[in-house]
C-alpha cells in the first residue's frame, strides 16, 4: 500500500491536456445557455447521468471520464447522485418506452436552470434502434435537448469536449 501511494505522489500525473473545444459545437451550445445562468452557476456543473435504455457502451465511456487520464473533476465537472443536485442531465440510449416515465420524472425533479445533453447515436435519433415498437427516436422526442455529443459510443475525449463547451458558456466571462 505504502509503495503504491508513494509512487502515485512521485510520478507525473497521467491527466492529459484538455481538448480544444469545437467552434461549431460551441455556437450550438451558446444559443441554449442564457446569461442569467452564467452568473448563477459559476465555473462548475453538476451532472446527473440517466441511462434511458442504452446498450451500456455509452456508460462505459462516461465512467471512463473519471479515470486518471481524463480526470473530469479538475474542470469543475462532477457527477451527482440525485437529479435535485444537478444542472445537467446527461442522457444515453434511444429512450425505451419502459424508461420514458422515469426519464421525465428525473427531468422534472431537476431544478431550473437545467440542460439536457444527449449522448451517443441512440440518444441523438434512436440510432440502430430507431423504428422499434419499444423505443422513442432519441431524447429529443421526449425532452428539449441542448447539446448532442455524437458517437457510438462517443470517446471520452469527445464527451469532454462537449462538456467543456457547455461549461465555458455557462460560466461568467
Amino acid at each position: 500500500m505504502r509503495r503504491t501511494l508513494l509512487e502515485g505522489l512521485l510520478h507525473r500525473p497521467l491527466s492529459e491536456p484538455p481538448p480544444a473545444v469545437d467552434a461549431a459545437e460551441l455556437e450550438a451550445v451558446a444559443r441554449a445557455v442564457g446569461v442569467a445562468a452564467r452568473a448563477r452557476l459559476g465555473r462548475s456543473l453538476s451532472i446527473r447521468e440517466i441511462d434511458a435504455g442504452s446498450c451500456n457502451g455509452c456508460e462505459l465511456e462516461i465512467v471512463a471520464l473519471g479515470n486518471a487520464f481524463y480526470d473530469l473533476e479538475r474542470f469543475g465537472l462532477r457527477f451527482v447522485a440525485s437529479p435535485r443536485h444537478a444542472d445537467v442531465l446527461l442522457v444515453t440510449g434511444p429512450v425505451t418506452h419502459n424508461m420514458r416515465a422515469a426519464l421525465l420524472r428525473t427531468w422534472e425533479a431537476t431544478p431550473d436552470p437545467k440542460w439536457v445533453v444527449a449522448v451517443g447515436a441512440c440518444a441523438h435519433d434512436g440510432g440502430e434502434f430507431a423504428g422499434s415498437y419499444a423505443c422513442e427516436r432519441g431524447v429529443g422526442a421526449v425532452l428539449p435537448v441542448d447539446l448532442v455529443i455524437q458517437g457510438c459510443p462517443p470517446t471520452p475525449l469527445a464527451l469532454l469536449q462537449g462538456l467543456l463547451g457547455l461549461l465555458a458558456l455557462s460560466s461568467p466571462p
Binding site: 509503495r3 456508460e59 479515470n67 418506452h97 419502459n98 424508461m99 434502434f129 459510443p153
Partner: protein, 502 residues
C-alpha cells in the same frame, strides 16, 4: 444410441447446425422438464416464436447440447417453470413477446412488458394494448418490523436502469426482488428481416460491454447455418479481441467491487489499466470497445504491426502493475472484512441455474464454453479455467483475477501464433438453414440461435445473455446480508441489464 435417448417422440430437423434440433410433442417436452428438474440436464435457453417454443439444453456435465421445439398451434405450452425455476423469467418473457401462454406458471406477472409499448405480444399477434399500465405487484414479505426500500430504475451511480425492491428487517435483507425490462429495445423484432450486416450491428449492441462476444456468438451461429468457415487469421483476431474485452471488463470490475467497499485506490489503479486496454484496442482495431469488428465470415478490421506492438506493450504494462494491486487487495484487512463471506451463492443453486462465468465458477460450476463445447482457436491454445467453491464476493473477485492472468497468457499466444492471410470470407447467399453457437463472454456463456430466410436475411434470431441465469440467484445470494452490502454483491455479479432486456 440416440443423442437424447430420453426423448421418445422426437423428429430431428434437417439443416440445424452444429447441434441437433428436435421437434417434440407435449409429452416429450414434459420429459425434458423432468430431466431439468432432476438436475440431469441444464437449461441453456428458452425462447418463443409465433407458433412454437424452443429450449436449448445441456445434457449431463458436458455430454451433448440439443434444441427442442414444441409446436403450439393453440399458443399454449406446459410451463417448465412450474418445476424448474430457472425457466420462469424466460417463459414470462416468451409470453410477453409472443403472446404464448405458459400453462401452469405460478408467476403470471409480465416481465419485459411494462404496459408502455402500446402493443401487446409485439412479436406475436401484436394486438393494440390499452394505454394505462397496471401497477406491478411485488412479492410480499410478512413480519413484524419489516420495511420496504425501493431503488431505481434511475440509480445514484452511472449504471444501467433496473428496479430493486428490498424488504428489510432493520439492516438485514429479508427479500430482494428485481424488476427488469427497462432497457428493452425490441432488438429481436428489429433483427427479423434484417440483412446480415445490419443484424450483426444489432448483435453488437445487445450489451456494449460484451459487444465482441455477442457479435461473435451471432457470427458463429450464422456461419454454422451457412456452413461458412472464416479464414484462420480472422478466427485468431476474434479471439484476440474477445480476450482484450474480457481483460478490460475484469479489470474494471475488480476496481469497481473494491470501490463499492469504499476502497477507492484499487478502483483508480484498475481504471488506469482498463483505459490502457481500451487504448490498445483502439490502436489495434480502430474502436475502443471493438464494436462492429466481428462480422459473419470474419472480421472487419485487420491488425497491423503498430497495433500488435501496442497490444504487446499493454500486456507488459498490466503484468508489471497488476500483481501489486492483487497484493494490495489480498493484504488490506478492512477490505477483506467486507468481501469475505459476503453475498454467498450456494453451489447447488449455481448448478441448478447453470450459472456461467465468474458467478458459476466462484460457486464450483466448472464450465467454460471456450473449453467445452469449445470453438477455434482455443483448441490450439493453453489456458486454465479457475474454479472456487466459496461463492462469496471474494471468490468472484479471485476468479476474475485468475482470468485476467489467463487472458494475458492467451493474448501473448494469439499474437505469437497469428496466422497470415485474409480476414474475411464472403458469406454465401441465402440458405434457409439454422445455426446455434455458445460463446464465452466475460460474464459467461452467450447462446445465439438464428434461422435464415431463403433470401439470406434473418428470419428469427435469439441471443441469450448469461445474466438470465445470474440475476435470479443474486436475489438468493443477497438474502440475510445487510442492505449496505447490496452494491458490493451486485457489482460482484455485474449482471447485464441491456443484454437481459434485449
Amino acid at each position: 444410441m440416440p443423442i437424447f435417448p430420453e426423448l421418445r417422440a422426437a423428429t430431428r430437423v434437417e439443416g440445424h447446425h452444429p447441434w441437433p434440433r428436435f421437434v417434440v410433442d407435449v409429452a416429450s417436452w414434459r420429459v425434458a422438464g423432468g430431466e431439468l428438474a432432476a438436475g440431469r440436464w441444464t437449461l441453456l435457453g428458452l425462447w418463443g416464436e409465433a407458433d412454437s417454443v424452443h429450449m436449448a439444453v445441456l445434457r449431463g456435465e458436458r455430454d451433448a447440447i440439443g434444441v427442442l421445439s414444441l409446436p403450439c398451434a393453440d399458443r399454449r405450452f406446459p410451463a417448465l417453470g412450474a418445476r424448474h425455476a430457472p425457466a420462469i423469467r424466460l417463459e414470462r418473457a416468451a409470453q410477453d413477446l409472443f403472446g404464448l401462454v405458459a400453462e401452469g406458471l405460478a408467476d403470471a406477472r409480465p416481465w419485459l412488458d411494462h404496459g408502455a409499448w402500446g402493443v401487446r405480444a409485439p412479436l406475436g399477434p401484436g394486438e393494440p394494448a390499452a394505454e394505462a399500465a397496471a401497477p406491478y405487484p411485488f412479492l410480499p414479505a410478512e413480519g413484524g418490523a419489516l420495511h420496504q426500500i425501493a431503488v431505481g430504475p434511475v440509480h445514484a451511480g452511472i449504471i444501467e436502469p433496473g428496479h430493486f425492491r428490498f424488504h428489510a428487517d432493520g439492516e438485514t435483507v429479508v427479500r430482494l426482488e428485481e424488476r427488469l425490462g427497462y432497457t428493452h429495445k425490441g432488438t429481436e423484432a428489429l433483427m427479423q428481416g434484417a440483412d446480415l450486416a445490419r443484424a450483426a450491428r444489432l448483435a453488437g449492441r445487445v450489451s456494449g460491454d460484451s459487444t465482441v462476444a455477442c457479435a461473435l456468438a451471432f457470427a458463429r451461429a450464422v456461419e454454422a447455418a451457412l456452413g461458412l468457415a472464416p479464414p484462420p487469421r480472422a478466427v485468431w483476431l476474434r479471439a484476440l479481441m474477445a480476450e482484450l474485452e474480457r481483460l478490460a471488463n475484469h479489470l474494471g470490475d475488480v476496481g469497481a467491487v473494491c470501490n463499492d467497499a469504499s476502497f477507492a485506490i484499487m478502483n483508480a489503479h484498475c481504471a488506469v489499466l482498463r483505459e490502457r486496454v481500451l487504448r490498445a484496442a483502439s490502436q489495434g482495431f480502430g474502436h475502443r470497445l471493438m464494436m462492429d469488428r466481428v462480422v459473419p465470415g470474419g472480421v472487419a478490421a485487420d491488425l497491423d504491426a503498430a497495433g500488435a506492438a501496442a497490444i504487446t506493450a499493454l500486456v507488459a504494462a498490466v503484468r508489471q502493475r497488476f500483481p501489486r494491486l492483487v497484493e494490495l487487495y489480498d493484504n488490506t484487512a478492512s477490505l477483506q472484512d467486507r468481501v469475505v463471506g459476503t453475498g454467498r451463492l450456494d453451489p447447488a443453486l449455481a448448478r441448478q441455474f447453470g450459472c456461467g462465468g465468474f458467478v458459476g465458477r466462484a460457486s464450483g460450476r466448472d464450465f467454460d464454453a471456450r473449453r467445452w463445447p469449445g470453438y477455434p482457436p482455443y483448441d490450439e491454445l493453453r489456458f486454465t479455467v479457475p474454479v472456487r467453491e466459496e461463492g462469496d464476493v471474494n471468490a468472484r473477485v479471485w476468479i476474475r483475477i485468475a482470468e485476467i492472468e489467463a487472458s494475458l497468457g492467451l493474448i501473448e499466444q494469439l499474437l505469437a501464433g497469428l496466422p497470415a492471410g485474409d480476414v474475411r470470407a464472403p458469406a454465401p447467399h441465402g440458405a434457409g438453414t439454422e445455426g446455434a453457437a455458445l460463446v464465452e463472454g466475460f460474464r459467461g456463456d452467450i447462446l445465439a440461435w438464428v434461422r435464415l430466410a431463403a433470401d439470406g436475411t434473418i428470419a428469427r434470431c435469439h441471443l441469450r445473455d448469461p445474466s438470465w441465469f445470474q440475476w435470479p440467484v443474486l436475489e438468493a445470494a443477497v438474502d440475510g446480508n445487510i442492505v449496505a452490502d447490496f452494491p458490493l454483491c451486485n457489482k460482484s455479479f455485474n449482471c447485464a441489464y441491456s443484454g437481459h432486456d434485449l
